[in-house]
């Protein structure tokens, strides 16, 4: 019985993979005094400066020999006060600011906040803008997953066919899509492409053929990554059965995206609550049942293939017409939202549910600045699983777990 059937039957209880949910679970709230180690406990700091923490993250580990008994993550090293800055910027100025949150997929960050503003204004972007938004979101998903897979294979180390092989290959293909973004917006990262009511840049001539050409290359290369990773004995020894995430625990922690789908939860906002032009395509959601690092890798590879397919389908039929529902904004304060509003909107990024809780000022006047804007980052929730997943694993496995969760610290700390 799938998750969908369980819900439709009204049982309310998800049919989660039983082999995982029955595993014994460690309790991170216990004090270290409660453990009875074989030797002396060694306190170890992983980070804050460590290449495989994917940013500036510190994890304090209590090690019993080579095995971790307790892990406490310390975050906030990259805290820039984005939510405070958003309260002092107008709606138009916020878009380039949130680019820097999840700095490997800026397109989806912009989309998340702009959907929230449009929801507050009550406007819908024209169909052409919706399709462009969907295409760039899916391309961004591919670049983001390429980075995740490549850097993770690098973390797993030198045994994988000479260290940085997979990393170099995935970054080479990622470059092809970044070139397409550059052609569209003029920037390789930090695009400032989306705006309130639509998009800023229309598709240049023959951009579609460039994208399709890049996708053809990437689709072929996905088979070659699988050739040197999926069936690689060393890779499997490092990842199969390591860092198993219990789906029940994962849902309570708020983990979404590929991390929770690898644990057997069939849930994707692109299919379940379509935004932009996702109602035009049939999104096939990739899931795995084992919930370990290997399953998270398999889900990412399958999602890249699915994204390639979605972009191809949408490219065939791009509607003509305007690309923005409102007049092009000249002054920063031109977009004003009604007062006393508070609403939540969310989209599915490469890492999961990226939400925006937008509150506008109390009173009677329209305002060009938000009163409070909470960004709900998927990576923060993924990191909060570390104290639960790490105990019982070797130190080298903790590196594998951290990389397979694919956290982006810019988004965690904001």
């Amino acid at each position: 019985m799938s998750v969908n059937q369980a819900i439709n039957n009204g049982t309310g209880d998800l049919n989660l993979p039983k082999a995982i949910t029955d595993l014994p679970r460690s309790n991170p709230y216990l004090s270290v005094e409660d453990y009875d180690p074989e030797g002396d406990l060694l306190v170890m700091n992983l980070g804050p400066q460590h290449p495989s923490t994917h940013g500036v993250l510190r994890v304090k580990l209590w090690m019993d020999g080579e095995v971790c008994v307790k892990a406490v993550p310390y975050i906030g090293y990259l805290h820039r006060g984005v939510e405070k800055l958003c309260e002092h910027r107008t709606y138009v100025q916020i878009t380039p600011l949130v680019d820097k949150n999840d700095y490997v997929s800026p397109m989806t960050n912009e989309l998340a906040v702009n959907i929230a503003f449009e929801n507050g204004l009550g406007i819908t972007p024209p169909p052409r803008a919706q399709v462009i938004r969907t295409i760039v979101s899916e391309m961004q998903r591919i670049t983001s997953h390429l980075l995740a897979v490549g850097t993770w294979a690098l973390d797993l180390g030198g045994a994988l066919g000479g260290g940085a092989t997979a990393f170099m290959h995935t970054f080479r293909e990622r470059e092809l899509l970044l070139d397409c973004f550059e052609e569209l917006t003029g920037a390789r990262f930090h695009y400032n492409h989306h705006t309130v009511g639509g998009v800023r840049h229309d598709i240049p001539e023959s951009w579609g053929t460039h994208v399709i050409k890049a996708l053809d290359v990437i689709e072929g290369k996905l088979d070659s990554y699988e050739g040197f990773l999926t069936e690689n004995q060393v890779f499997k020894a490092r990842s199969v059965g390591v860092g198993i995430l219990d789906p029940k625990l994962g849902l309570e922690l708020g983990i979404s995206g590929p991390n929770i789908r690898a644990s057997g939860v069939d849930w994707d906002l692109r299919r379940d609550a379509p935004y932009a032009a996702y109602d035009r395509v049939d999104v096939r959601v990739a899931t795995q049942q084992t919930g370990d690092c290997y399953a998270r890798y398999l889900v990412r590879i399958a999602e890249m293939r699915e994204s390639v397919r979605i972009v191809r389908v949408l490219m065939k039929d791009i509607p003509s017409g305007p690309i923005c529902a409102v007049k092009p904004v000249k002054l920063p304060g031109a977009v004003k939202l009604p007062p006393n509003l508070s609403a939540y909107t969310c989209i599915e990024t490469a890492r999961g549910e990226l939400g925006t809780w937008l509150v506008t000022p109390p009173g009677k006047k329209k305002s060009a600045m938000p009163y409070r804007m909470k960004i709900r980052p998927p990576s923060l929730h993924a990191l909060s699983a570390l104290p639960w997943v790490c105990p019982g694993n070797n130190l080298s496995d903790i590196i594998a777990i951290l990389g397979s969760m694919d956290p982006i610290m810019g988004e965690v700390d904001r």
């Binding site: 849902l251 979404s256 939860v265 508070s342 969310c346 409070r372 909060s384 639960w388």
Partner: protein, 151 residues
Amino acid sequence: MISPEIIGLFTDTFGLESDPSEGPWVPSDKVLSVAQALYDRGFTYFSYCAAAHYPATEEEAGYYNVSYRFRRVGPKGEQAAFRIRVLLDAETPSLAGIWIGADWQEREQYDLIGVRFSNHPDLRRIMMPEDWDGHPLQREYAIETPHHPWR
């Protein structure tokens, strides 16, 4: 949007009027029973906990608007949400005993906004340094507020 089933639950069982997107204002003595009722109905996914700060004005006392949102994962994407009005010197019960994910989210709201949660397992600062003064997302807190030297 909150599912109609849950809006019905709020009105019939707890007698609370709901906003279609943000849910009802739940009085602090009912918070835990409302939360447990949602969890028991399959809303096991913890989406977020967020708070906004409203300083005291001439007409009314200052308060925090603490908003929670949960989800029953699946094809319908049903959401449930409620909010709590917490006076500036009061506490609100932590939901970390029901959803584990509330632990870090409530720590973040405590750190940045200053909402205090009672019975929280581990209420420490999460984003700001341990020796930071004040809560930066409060409305009176200026961006240029001087701080201790970075360590």
